[in-house]
């Protein structure tokens, strides 16, 4: 919690200085190259761009904390509204991806197998999951399933109201793209823990009682090896944000990530600030939630503030 406030302040301050200090006056950017210095100055005064950066920053912060994120320079729409519209898309993408990645990683790695070939194959798949860049995986999926086989729509977004099937057809490739990295990371963390757990006495006891290897694996070993994965869901939230930015750009999904990239492309300063802050705050919040989930899931740890 104590990290969250300075981090958010640092990033927004950084963003603030970047646009104002280095890219020039937002007014000049809004009016284009033909604007006269006088009109730029007028607009500067109107928006308060002529005041010191620190003053402008404090004013923005005050308004942001009251829920007023300003208006977009390009669409003139309220930033809070644009963020509100994009947020559900990104949240849905992230939730599906994490669910898919964790459940696949846990189930696939719990299946008892003594065969070296299978162990090696899973290890290779994990490495591929971690190292394939999102954009490469996404484009390969589009090429295979949309261009060649024409099973799925290439890009775009269909809300739930367009029908469940249409919705799922649009979201399946983005979810696969985003979850691959997490699948790899979660697998590695889970396997290491599972390896340690299966050497413990109670597993030997369960085996000695004559339980089947599947039952031992899923009922005795798995619940005891799941904890580190929960923590990792929180730790990897930052990566998830980055991955969502790329994934939404590939699939033209109207989410937070694409809003961010577009605001950067168009120098839409208020949107950039708001989304940048939102990403940082949610990443820190995810870390906190993971800590809480960890203490709930493991009664041995009592939260000690």
């Amino acid at each position: 919690m104590c990290v969250m406030v300075p981090t958010a302040l640092l990033v927004t301050a950084l963003l603030f200085c970047s646009v104002n200090g280095l890219l020039g006056s937002p007014a000049a950017m809004m009016l284009g190259q033909d604007a006269s210095p006088q009109t730029i100055a007028e607009l500067d005064a109107e928006y308060g761009f002529d005041q010191p950066l620190a003053v402008q920053y404090m004013r923005w912060l005050g308004e942001a904390l009251r829920g007023d994120l300003g208006r977009s320079y390009t669409t003139r729409q309220s930033v809070a509204q644009a963020v509100g519209n994009s947020l559900p898309v990104t949240i849905e993408l992230a939730v599906w991806s994490i669910l898919l990645a964790t459940s696949l990683a846990i189930v696939l790695n719990t299946i008892p197998t003594a065969r070296l070939l299978i162990t090696r194959t899973t290890a290779a798949v994990n490495v591929v999951g971690i190292t394939v860049p999102n954009f490469m995986l996404g484009i390969s999926l589009i090429f295979l399933f949309s261009v060649e086989l024409q099973w799925l729509p290439t890009t775009g977004w269909a809300p739930w109201s367009d029908g469940v099937i249409t919705h799922l057809r649009h979201i399946i490739m983005p979810v696969l793209t985003l979850s691959s990295y997490y699948f790899g990371v979660f697998s590695i963390v889970y396997r290491a823990e599972l390896h340690a757990v299966t050497r413990q006495m109670f597993i030997r006891v369960a085996q000695a009682k004559g339980l089947g290897e599947w039952r031992v694996a899923f009922r005795h070993a798995m619940p005891n090896a799941i904890l580190p994965v929960i923590t990792f869901v929180g730790i990897s939230a930052g990566q998830l944000a980055g991955g969502a930015v790329v994934t939404e750009t590939i699939f033209s999904m109207p989410g937070i990530g694409r809003l961010f990239v577009r605001s950067i492309e168009t120098h839409d300063f208020p949107t950039m600030l708001a989304v940048g802050m939102l990403i940082v705050v949610s990443v820190v919040l995810m870390n906190l939630l993971a800590d809480i989930a960890y203490t709930i899931a493991n009664p041995q740890i009592r939260f000690d503030p």
Binding site: V3, M4, P6, T7, L10, V11, L14, L15, C17, S18, V19, L22, L23, R120, V127, V128, I130, T131, V132, P133, N134, F135, M136, I139, S140, I142, F143, V147, A237, G238, Q239, L240, A241, G242, G243, V245, V246, T249, I250, F260, V261, I264, E265, M272, G276, I279, V280, V283, V284, N287
Partner: protein, 258 residues
């Protein structure tokens, strides 16, 4: 038994490096010269076809290795140059330096690397030098944390105590006793960091914040090829495969080195 990663990793790294060094000799065409033969499919003259400006894709992929490796190694060296001294001092000397550094590391690690790099790149402008510096700046905290942890452990060993007992200075102990014992871990982290830098810079390029055209840059090539996926998919998939191959090589090597 030797780990497969210790063979596959160096092989992939060596391949990319040889391709990068010999780029002028092995590329069939100039990576920059455009022709009227646009978006051609693979043929004996153009092994991977041509892009939307009629440039030979194979040559551009070959030259792209130079850009990627420069950024990968450059950024990692910058990150190490910041992270190692900070980690060593904090871990060995402890005290107030340590407290401040740990707070700083925690703050940075909470930030999403790609998003942070995106923000700073917008701020300073995407040139090769800036990308190296920005990525180095984004990547130093995990390195400092790793080195600090290792230094903390080595500090408590008997041989460091002995070195202190015979009157060795701090600088001498760190240089002669602490650092050599941390080196293997740092070497493994070096490879992983290079893979992260190449991965992140390619993602930045894909988002349109990479090295500006016409430099051959894998992430940027994937992006421009994306629009022509139905005409010549190799325009996008070939540089994409090159990024994946290189990132995987460095990652696998670093991970199995530990």
């Amino acid at each position: 038994m030797i780990r497969p990663g210790l063979i596959i990793g160096p092989l992939a790294i060596a391949t990319t490096m040889i391709v990068a060094i010999l780029a002028p000799e092995i590329s069939p065409h100039s990576p920059y010269r455009s022709s009227v033969d646009m978006l051609a499919l693979p043929s004996p003259a153009h092994l991977l076809g041509t892009d939307d400006l009629g440039r030979d894709i194979a040559s551009r992929v070959i030259y792209g290795a130079r850009t990627s490796l420069t950024i990968g190694f450059g950024a990692t060296i910058v990150a190490m140059a910041i992270g190692i001294p900070l980690g060593l001092t904090a871990g060995y000397i402890r005290g107030r330096v340590d407290t401040v550094l740990v707070a700083l590391i925690d703050l940075f690690i909470a930030l999403p690397g790609l998003v942070l790099a995106l923000i700073i790149t917008v701020m300073v402008g995407p040139t090769l030098r800036n990308l190296v510096l920005v990525l180095g700046f984004v990547m130093w905290p995990p390195i400092a944390r790793l080195v600090r942890g290792q230094a903390l452990a080595v500090r408590e060993t008997v041989f460091v105590e002995a070195a202190r007992a015979i009157g060795g200075s701090r600088a001498w102990i760190i240089r002669r006793h602490v650092w050599p014992n941390i080196l293997p871990v740092v070497a493994s982290q070096f490879a992983v960091s290079v893979s992260f830098a190449i991965f992140t810079s390619a993602s930045l390029s894909f988002l349109g914040l990479g090295i500006p055209a016409p430099t051959a840059d894998w992430g940027g090539m994937v992006r421009s090829g994306y629009d022509y996926l139905a005409i010549n998919p190799l325009m996008s998939l070939a540089p994409g495969a090159a990024v994946t191959f290189t990132v995987m090589g460095f990652y696998v090597f670093g991970a199995s080195f530990k």
